[in-house]
């Protein structure tokens, strides 16, 4: 019987297996300032060396300010965590893309950009959205601080094998819907724990049509369906993207690698534990209304009515979510007014996302009742966007143009919602308090966020004129 892509990557990385526990070899370990300090300290206490410095790459992102990055950081805890990261990288010989370096940015934007993310590899990071790298056909997942230390010390991880799920997305990818809409629709259908225990592989026409950036958006949010990781088979687009990146293999070695990467796709007779099917013709632009990413409907939808819920548990969940979100049942989504717009995060802050938002913003003005910020995912994205004049388009329309970082995705820096403020956000989590205590988050695509900034309420991006 054939193998799935997941099985192929898994099998190629098992060092040892015992009672269902495997020691899995890790090709790339990405490190940021928040989840790594105790891991490095653990190494010091146990007097263990870092096993493989040239497989370990670090970047500060979660805490960094997005204004005046060249000035000293005001918040003492952030400053200390970033300083600690610097010291740890120095002491253990880890490459650091520090503030002020054009390569700095959100870890999941930076690693692919630098060519650190390769098909067929295993990648871990102390951050759940490590699933992003699955867009290249890499087995990538988030780990806890003890595991970070384990990888630092051994270049391996103890793992139990996940089950496999195939999500088939048929139908073409038109310019009417975005990868963000597709992934929100998937989570809406299978639920936030629908993927628990699985690695999800995406396949089908829409996935083949998708750019690498779009595939990253899809794999990024796979974690929101509760899955361990997302995977997409590498193809010509993947190889083109990777060629000549700073850390990708060069010349003959690259060609050799491509030869092997072509064999990664799941075999035609491979068996998945579960298969779920979607068709793009059924998917419209999505907007979340609740406090988890599965609480979602489309732009023509309404805020749900708890009275019509199928069971008391759902009823309770909807009620609680609407109360937190300050929404009245049956309100049409298009009538929801917003106060803030955040375009950024590892879900939607790459060049393609910014282009899409700029196409909407061009020649328009942000509504006077809305404050909107655009936070590019990395220094390179920022530079490229500025080269294309996107920053001018945004600024002329009244968006703030910021410096790279996680920013209002998790509000660990100064970019926060105030209690009760309502935000159209391109990030990945709408949990209570995620963007600031009492803040209300609606997850949308970059196009939908930009349109909402201009009209002041959710508006169908498809009917909006783009330039």
């Amino acid at each position: 019987m054939g193998k799935t892509m997941f099985e192929k990557i898994w099998d190629a990385h098992v060092v040892h297996e015992q009672d269902g526990n495997a020691i899995l070899y890790i090709d790339r370990h990405l490190v940021h300032e928040v989840t790594s300090p105790q891991a490095f300290e653990g190494l010091r206490i146990a007097e263990r060396p870092l096993r493989k410095p040239n497989a370990t790459y670090a970047v500060p992102d979660h805490n960094v300010p997005t204004i005046d990055q060249d000035k000293p950081i005001q918040d003492p805890i952030s400053a200390k965590q970033i300083e600690t990261l610097r010291q740890n990288c120095k002491d253990f010989g880890v490459t650091l893309f520090d503030l002020g370096d054009i390569r700095q940015g959100i870890v999941h934007v930076v690693a692919p950009e630098q060519g650190l993310t390769l098909p067929g590899s295993t990648i871990v990071c102390g951050d759940s959205h490590t699933s992003t790298h699955g867009a290249f056909g890499a087995l990538a997942f988030g780990i806890g601080t003890s595991e970070v230390e384990h990888v630092l010390a051994t270049q391996t991880l103890q793992q139990q094998k996940a089950k496999s799920m195939l999500v088939q997305v048929d139908g073409p990818l038109s310019d009417q819907i975005t990868p963000k809409d597709i992934v929100l629709a998937i989570i809406g259908k299978i639920g936030t724990s629908g993927g628990a225990g699985y690695v999800i592989e995406y396949a089908g026409e829409a996935i083949r049509d998708m750019s690498i950036e779009g595939r990253m958006t899809l794999c990024n949010m796979t974690i929101e369906a509760g899955a361990r990781a997302g995977l997409i088979a590498p193809d010509e687009k993947t190889f083109t993207y990777l060629r000549d990146r700073p850390y990708t293999p060069k010349g003959e070695l690259f060609e050799q690698a491509v030869g092997s990467w072509r064999l990664l796709a799941s075999d035609p007779d491979a068996k998945f534990d579960t298969v779920v099917e979607f068709n793009t013709k059924d998917i419209l632009p999505q907007v979340t209304w609740g406090t988890n990413p599965g609480m979602v409907t489309d732009i023509n939808g309404k805020v749900p009515d708890p009275e019509k819920a199928e069971n008391p548990k759902d009823q309770q969940a909807i009620k609680a979510a609407l109360e937190y979100m300050g929404l009245i049942p049956n309100t049409p989504i298009q009538e929801i007014q917003i106060d803030r717009v955040f375009i950024g995060s590892c879900t939607n802050s790459r060049i393609e996302d910014l282009r899409a938002a700029a196409a909407v913003a061009k020649g328009q003005k942000v509504s006077t009742s809305v404050n909107a910020i655009v936070v590019p995912g990395s220094g390179q994205v920022k530079e490229q966007a500025e080269g294309e004049g996107l920053d001018i388009i945004f600024k002329e329309a009244g968006f703030e143009w910021r410096e790279p970082g996680c920013s209002m995705c998790l509000a660990m820096n100064d970019d926060k919602l105030k209690p009760g403020e309502r935000c159209a956000s391109t990030s990945n989590r709408n949990f209570e308090g995620r963007q600031g205590k009492g803040g209300r988050t609606h997850l949308v695509s970059p196009e939908m966020a930009a349109v909402a900034a201009i009209t002041g309420h959710f508006t169908d991006a498809r009917s909006f004129e783009k330039h």
């Binding site: 190629a12 060092v15 040892h16 009672d19 020691i23 070899y25 090709d27 300090p37 105790q38 300290e41 653990g42 206490i45 146990a46 263990r48 040239n54 497989a55 805890i77 200390k80 965590q81 600690t84 390769l118 067929g120 590899s121 806890g144 601080t145 003890s146 230390e149 384990h150 010390a153 051994t154 270049q155 391996t156 103890q158 850390y247 293999p249 070695l253 690259f254 050799q256 690698a257 092997s260």
Partner: protein
């Protein structure tokens, strides 16, 4: 990680059920960048009268002289419930506890104990009650916890057997944390790496 084989030590009683990780180590102490320095904050809100932790609360049992230097904690149901924070076992260990005896533990906390060299012992509620009854009136009462034999013995000669997962037991007896366990296979890792470098040389950054 320090091995746990057999220890005879002073036992302290904490007569509460559902002691959660927030009580063990409140969240204001989690912003540290170190994995040490949590011992002084163990049970902070119970242990101190002030926020800065300078005035010990005389009413909190662990502050009483008779428990100074205790290394075994005997307590009630569902110890360690709440968040998955590993700071909880870090704090207990740094304070000095090597074994915790209770009728039940929260799942993640239970596993985190083994990862950090603490032995969590499950006895049934009537046995725990007997321990309380014996320790309470006897100041300086020491228990013997034997992981090899999987037994807890008291000065009055009570002997209670317990069981733990053989895999976890083996690791604790040898003092192997997850990393230590994996490093037993260091040779295989090196060998794997060598082969892998031949089959997928492009994965290696020079």
């Amino acid at each position: 990680m320090q091995a746990f084989t057999k220890m005879t030590a002073l036992a302290a009683l904490l007569d509460r059920a559902d002691v959660d990780t927030d009580a063990i180590i409140p969240k204001q102490f989690l912003k540290k960048i170190e994995r040490t320095g949590f011992g002084v904050h163990l049970f902070h809100d119970w242990r101190y009268l002030d926020d800065s932790g300078t005035q010990p609360n005389p009413d909190f049992v662990l502050n009483s002289d008779r428990y100074t230097g205790a290394q075994i904690l005997v307590t009630r149901d569902n110890f360690g419930c709440g968040s998955s924070r590993e700071h909880a076992p870090w704090a207990l260990l740094e304070y000095g506890f090597r074994a915790i005896i209770a009728p039940s533990f929260a799942d993640i906390f239970y596993n985190n104990c083994f990862k950090n060299g603490i032995l969590p012992v499950r006895l049934d509620a009537t046995q725990i009650q007997r321990l309380f009854e014996e320790i309470q009136p006897n100041e300086g009462c020491q228990l013997t916890v034997d992981l090899e034999q999987q037994q807890v013995t008291t000065p009055q000669g009570h002997c209670f057997t317990f069981s733990v997962d053989p895999f976890a037991r083996e690791r604790l007896l040898q003092g192997l944390d997850d990393i230590g366990w994996t490093l037993q296979f260091k040779h295989q890792i090196v060998q794997f790496e060598g082969q892998y470098q031949n089959t997928a040389p492009w994965m290696f950054i020079q």
